[in-house]
Structures are given as C-alpha cells and as structure tokens.
Symmetry: C2
Subunit: 243 residues, 2 copies
C-alpha cells in the first residue's frame, strides 16, 4: 500500500492511498494513535470515494466518534480506468431497458457480478488499513446504500470483521440468499417513493436479512431524497455497536 | 378540573387530576413556570394512564426536553368504571375470534367506536391542561401505540393543535381514510414479527398517512418487544418538531 501524506482540516486527517490497482482514501482524527473502530463506506453508482455525501458522513464519523473511515473507488468509477467488460454489460442493459425490460433485475445481476471483484478487494483494504498503527484491528462497520448496498450485502455476509452495517436503497432480487447469511445488526434505509427500487423489493431485502437485530427506517421521498436526520441516526447506531 | 397537590421525584412533578369523569395525570418539570410544549400520551389496551411504559416515557420527555406530559384513562380502563356497552362488544368479539373470525377487523372496529368518545375527551383535556399557567398554549405532540394508535389516529386527524405524532403497532383496517387526513410529521413504529397486527396492515397504515414527512421504524420482534433505543429516537423526533 502506498499512502500519501495527510492533509488536515477541522481535526480530521485525510490520506489518499493506492493498494495495488485500488485508489482509496482514509480519514482519521488528527494525531490519532492506537487502535480504533473502522468504517468502510461503499459509494453509489456513478459516484466515487470522495463524493460529497461520502465525505460528509466520513468526517462526522471521525469527528464525533473518533473512528477511522475508509472508502475506495469501485471498478470503473472515480480514479479507476474504464472496465470494458462492465461497460459492455451496462450498455447491453441500457438497450434492454430501452426495449422495455424491467431495470431492477438487470441492475441486481450487474451488482452481483461486480461484487465478485469488490468483496476480495474490500477485504484486502481492511487487511492493509488495519495494519496501520493509528487504525489497528478494532471493530469494523460498513455503510453503503444503492450500489453500496448491492455490493455491501455480499461483503458484509462474507467478512466476519464487520460487526454492524447500514444498508439500503437496494432490493432483494439478486441478494436475498446472501442477505440471509448476514447476522450482525443492520440499520436499513428505504425511501418510500423510490423511483429506482420497487418498494416491495426493498422490504423483501430487509425481510431477508438474517440479523436478529435489524431496524428499517423508511422515509417519504425518492431515491435521492433521504432526510438529513438519518445521518444522526447512523451515528448513534454505530456508536451502539462499535463503541 | 380538580387538580391534586403535586408530588415530585428527580426533578419531575406529578399531579393527578379529574376533568369531569376523566381521571388523568400531568407531569411537568419541578418549578415550571410559563408556556411549554405538551405531549398527550395514549396508553395501550388493558393498560392505564400510569402504566410503567407511559410513566418512563413521560418522565424522560419532562426531564430531557422540559415538556409537560398528560395521560388520561381510556373509558373502561384504569380508575374509570366498567363500561357495560364496551364490555358487551368486547365479549362478543372474543366469541367471534374463538369461532374463527379474524381479530384485526374486530379490534379496528372496536377502536373506531371508542375513538368517538375519546377524541372529544382528549380535546377537552388539552383545553383544560393548556389553561394551567405552567403549561400554557405551546405546541402539542401525541404519542400512542397499539390502542393508543387506534385512538390516536382519529385524534391527531381531528386536532389542529397537534404538530407531531408518534404512532404505531396498529393497522389500517378502520383508520386508513382518517389517517389520510393527518398532515403533521409522524414517526411510525412497527414490529416486524407482530403477532397481533399483520405486517401488511401496519405498512398500509403508514402508507395511508397524509403527512409529507413521515418515517417508519420497523424492528424485529413481536408486539411487546419494541427495542429501548426507539425511546431515544422519539425524544429526538419531538425535539425536532416541538422545540
């Protein structure tokens, strides 16, 4: 892992890094020393590791909870090169939708394909970041909605270091069987009028989660209209489960 | 209204009162003077105005937010006499359920009947309590689940002083049309494995609410197993909307 020098503002240090081909960013409290909880954040489709909503949440997790937060670019996103195979499939899917196909199963199938690559990538990122002395091997949380949910469900199911997860804005089509293997506490975010994820599919994904403790937060509004107070709730959820 | 002398513990004053035939209890901060927000709480079926979960919530609303809180006995509950008409209907309903009838429509019909009495009773309670100098005519919130939801939906729909409501553990059978007239922010609590309210009916009631801002909180577990952290969320919800 190659780690760039830190920049700092308002008590939060930010370090860009690359791990093999994966560009990432790590946020920690200024002057952090020793082991702490780590939150891995998965960004949305067409977004990247430093999208404004990722940065806003990351800075609050660091400033208010003292956590480390890491985000990396999904293949084909941010500072990563175009992936011809994924691009070809995405183009084919767009053509199918234009011809009248339902988008949800196509999106779910595509996310399941990409997850085969991102699950081991994100596990390698955890290995590397937890090897840093100011992060260490503390409890791990996961936060990701939309694409970050489609890729997050298989990641959380596969990775025993994850102790709690915030997921949402995703449906059950490709992930219900995988979701049943998740047993850690989950806060699941759903937009009641989501124009991209049918309501019944979002409810079915929440239902499919194997966790004994899971909470659904459903709010009025469309896919991109999650209310700001849900971030306050996320902070309290992680504080309960990651310390 | 006849108001008994206050007793006090941990900074919270409690005053029993009667308004006509209605026995009630008012909690306020010790030494309160002047206008403040008022939360009216509706208790559950078979419970009463000082049931432990009502008292616990009321004391936190007073101690942490400085609100006044009022709860009264529903007809046939607590310190009120047995109501022969309600008792007869309840006995008939029990016989129908024993003979194989679905309980949910019977419960909903019964609650709609009782609400014809409790809506004007609770409006009179607001009038009287807001006339006290240490309560005054501030913003009003409503909290009620189960029976407190069945009676609360028509009350919140009818009473313009209510600015925000916590409802839940109830279904849409008798109340969907009334719920559509509610326009204030609502936090709606649903137990995902509720053995008394079918999940689809709880979701339908949330869907029916006319509020532009409404949030569904669904948790694993049965009717009586709402997690303790939902009270923390309720406090923040009222703080956002009642100040």
């Amino acid at each position: 892992m190659r780690v760039n020098p830190a920049t700092s503002s308002d008590g939060v240090s930010e370090q860009l890094f690359t791990l093999g081909e994966i560009p990432g960013v790590l946020w920690t409290p200024d002057g952090a020393a020793g082991t702490r909880a780590l939150v891995l954040m998965g960004h949305g489709g067409g977004q990247h590791k430093k999208a404004p909503d990722i940065v806003d949440r990351a800075r609050r997790f660091v400033a208010e909870c003292g956590y480390a937060v890491v985000a990396v670019d999904v293949p084909g996103h941010g500072d990563r090169p175009t992936d011809e195979r994924y691009d070809r499939i995405a183009t084919e899917n767009q053509a199918r939708v234009a011809a009248g196909a339902e988008p949800a199963p196509l999106i779910a199938g595509f996310q399941a394909l990409v997850a085969r690559q991102t699950v081991p990538e994100w596990q390698a990122v955890l290995d590397a970041v937890q090897g840093l002395p100011h992060v260490g091997a503390g409890p791990v949380g996961y936060w990701g909605v939309s694409l970050g949910c489609g890729l997050g469900v298989p990641f959380v199911a596969a990775e025993p270091r994850v102790r709690a997860a915030v997921l949402g804005l995703g449906g059950a089509l490709a992930t219900a069987e995988v979701a049943a293997r998740i047993t850690v506490p989950v806060e699941f975010l759903l937009q009641w009028d989501d124009e991209r994820v049918p309501r019944a599919q979002g409810l079915a994904l929440f239902d499919a989660l194997g966790s004994a403790e899971k909470t659904l937060h459903a709010n009025t509004g469309g896919h991109g209209e999650m209310p700001a107070f849900e971030l306050d709730s996320t902070l309290r959820f992680f504080a309960r489960h990651l310390g």
